[in-house]
Amino acid sequence: MELTLVQAVNDALREEMKRDQRVVVLGEDVGKYGGVFKATDGLQAVFGNERVIDTPLNEQAIVGASIGMSLKGLVPVAEIQFIDFIHPAFDQIVSELSKMRYRSGGQYAPHVVIRAPFGAGTKGGPYHSQSSESYFVHTAGLKVVIPSSPAECKGLLTSSIRDTDPVIFMESKRLYRSVREEVPEGEYLVPLGKARNARPGKDVTILTYGSMVQVSMKAAEVMCEEDVDVEVIDIRTLMPLDIETVVASAKKTGRIVIVHEAPKTMGFGAEISALLSEKAFDYLKAPIIRVTGYDTPVPFSLEDQYSPSPERVIAAIRNTMAY
């Protein structure tokens, strides 16, 4: 069936809730309303309001209660309405969700997924556009997953729900309805921790994820005309990173462009760049280039200028080729 990304989220939740009684969904407006983006549309009608729960407006309690539920054998999938509103729950995430297994010597291990839409592209201004993955990748104990297309999304969300570690699952709003693709029906899994070679190439490697995969693919197509053969790696799981795939591609091409929407400074590109200079130093033919969001909040009016465009990626590819 052809689905948009937000429909793929819905489908994955539906399948897992059907398959596994332990799975519950909770968050603000996720029930009757089906979520402000309709990601949980119709679930309450099917699974009842005990398993699809409209909560009060308090993100820390949503995450905290999810942790508790999971300790008692449920598998909560919490929705945070926008990743921008996850910060009230930051203490729960940093102090509890990520560290509970550790501090209890493995006795109490929260099995929780937090889903949240992120990224610019929908004219949401400074508080409905952020890309906050860095905070979570830096926090040991969390897994961080970001899908780039509807099918990917279904497979990765299903795996995230089954994974026994806490997962921050970030969904690009820009992709929610802009693409449709064939998504396998029924059970469909894409493993965590494995990157995807979205476009094999030999001259330059683009390392990217989420909606920036599309942007990078467009840039790659354009570069064909200039006879530059671009490889695009869809990172998929930022933590744990598929280091083998990333390093292998870097060694092959020796020219690296990293693309993400999050701000540059301490964005995930910094970590990839550092890892590659540790693990592929002798293979690098040019400086690793980061094409990213700027180190500013996301402005309302100039949002289009904020996010990396194919043009910016192309310029980076040309730069690295010319080096």
Binding site: E28, D29, Y33, P56, F85, D295, T296, E311
Partner: protein
């Protein structure tokens, strides 16, 4: 705690026993409510026409917003949330500033940085809000605290919704204000919903004003569709604050007659009948009937006033639409007091790409 419901303009119109305001003031109040209503209505239409990208209407909450602002002095600082059209306009924000903000154009005092409907203007002592719920409450506490230390006679007021009372921010700010008897007012517009979530799913206490008792401060529940009742409750809260008797939590019981924002569809979570019965309690209708009973107002005046305001609002929208968007450099302004090297670098990069329009779709 006074949690009894205050009502001065009874639903069945009859002359008020004694109005706290002069006729001129009553008409001014009405005028402000109408401006707010029409600005919202026109903005919703402009949104449907694709002329405005996003908007948050306060339709139905004009009595709560206008009545409370009217009770303040210009030196009092106002901390609105995103549902602040009635607040901004009651503070006499010019329609140009109002709609320049909605369009985020180059003349917007917020430089197009903020989302539409996040009005603020330091010349009016309206502090530009963010979007996260209730983070501004502690700011209002801080400003009033500083004023108290400086022995300045002023109060602050923060606005938020019923849903906001569930947030940790609410708790921290109100508790702090209670301990230090900060001259501030926490003004809750209980419009019955937090997007789709009804207030009885938000908290198990039916009377939100009860929450004040957890903090040892005064709580007042007021009919939020009664502009005079709101005015009086706010006025009293202001005096209480200035007297050194600490903060007040005001619950104004009202109803959000429109959608949550331009991207909401209330029919997904509440029925037409519920909305229709709520329209019968429309605070503007009620106040106009009251003014009519007092002999201060009639249908004809009403039509003239509304037409005039509609024109003004339409013009302001049209004008704001024609003002160009901000220049690329403004993307990098106001991150810090002065621009550090990395933002200089990034600005240079951005400039390069802005010239070449996007070609790849």
């Amino acid at each position: 705690m006074n949690a009894g419901s205050l009502s001065l303009t009874p639903s069945k119109p009859r002359p008020a026993v004694s109005s706290p305001l002069t006729g001129k003031q009553l008409l001014r109040l009405y005028y402000l409510m109408i401006v707010s209503r029409i600005a919202d209505e026109r903005a919703l239409i402009a949104h449907k026409q694709g002329r405005i990208g996003f908007y948050v209407p306060a339709v139905g909450e004009e009595a709560a917003e206008v009545g409370s602002v009217f009770a303040l002095s210009p030196e009092d600082w106002i901390f609105p949330d995103y549902r602040g059209s009635g607040i901004a306009l009651a503070r006499e924000m010019p329609l140009k500033i109002f709609f320049d903000q909605v369009l985020g154009n180059i003349e917007d005092v917020l430089k197009g940085h903020s989302m539409p409907s996040h009005w603020g203007d330091s010349s009016l002592n309206i502090v530009a809000p963010s979007s996260p719920i209730c983070t501004h409450l502690s700011h209002a506490v801080g400003v009033a605290w500083a004023a108290m230390m400086k022995r300045e006679k002023m109060v602050t007021i923060s606005y938020f919704g019923d849903g906001g009372t569930s947030s940790g921010e609410f708790h921290g700010a109100v508790n702090l204000a209670g301990v230090f008897k900060i001259p501030t007012i926490f003004f809750c517009r209980n419009n019955q919903y937090a997007i789709s979530v009804p207030v009885d799913r938000q908290t198990a206490v039916t009377n939100l004003a009860e929450k004040a008792s957890a903090y040892g401060i005064t709580g007042v529940r007021v009919d939020g569709n009664d502009v005079l009742a709101v005015y009086l409750a706010t006025k009293e809260a202001r005096q209480r604050a200035l007297r050194g008797d600490g903060p007040t939590f005001i619950e104004a019981v009202t109803y959000r007659l429109g959608p949550h924002t331009t991207i909401d569809d209330p029919m997904k979570y509440r029925g037409k009948t519920e909305e229709e019965s709520a329209w019968k309690r429309d605070p503007i209708l009620r106040f106009s009937e009251y003014l009519t009973t007092l002999g201060l107002w009639d249908m004809e005046k009403d039509q003239v006033l509304r037409n005039k305001i509609k024109e003004d609002v339409n013009l302001a929208i049209t004008n704001a639409k024609e003002v160009p968007k901000p220049e690329i450099d403004s993307l990098f302004e106001d991150v810090y007091s002065t621009s550090p090297w990395h933002l200089d670098e990034q600005r240079m990069e951005a400039r390069r790409f802005v010239a070449s329009k996007r070609q790849i779709q």
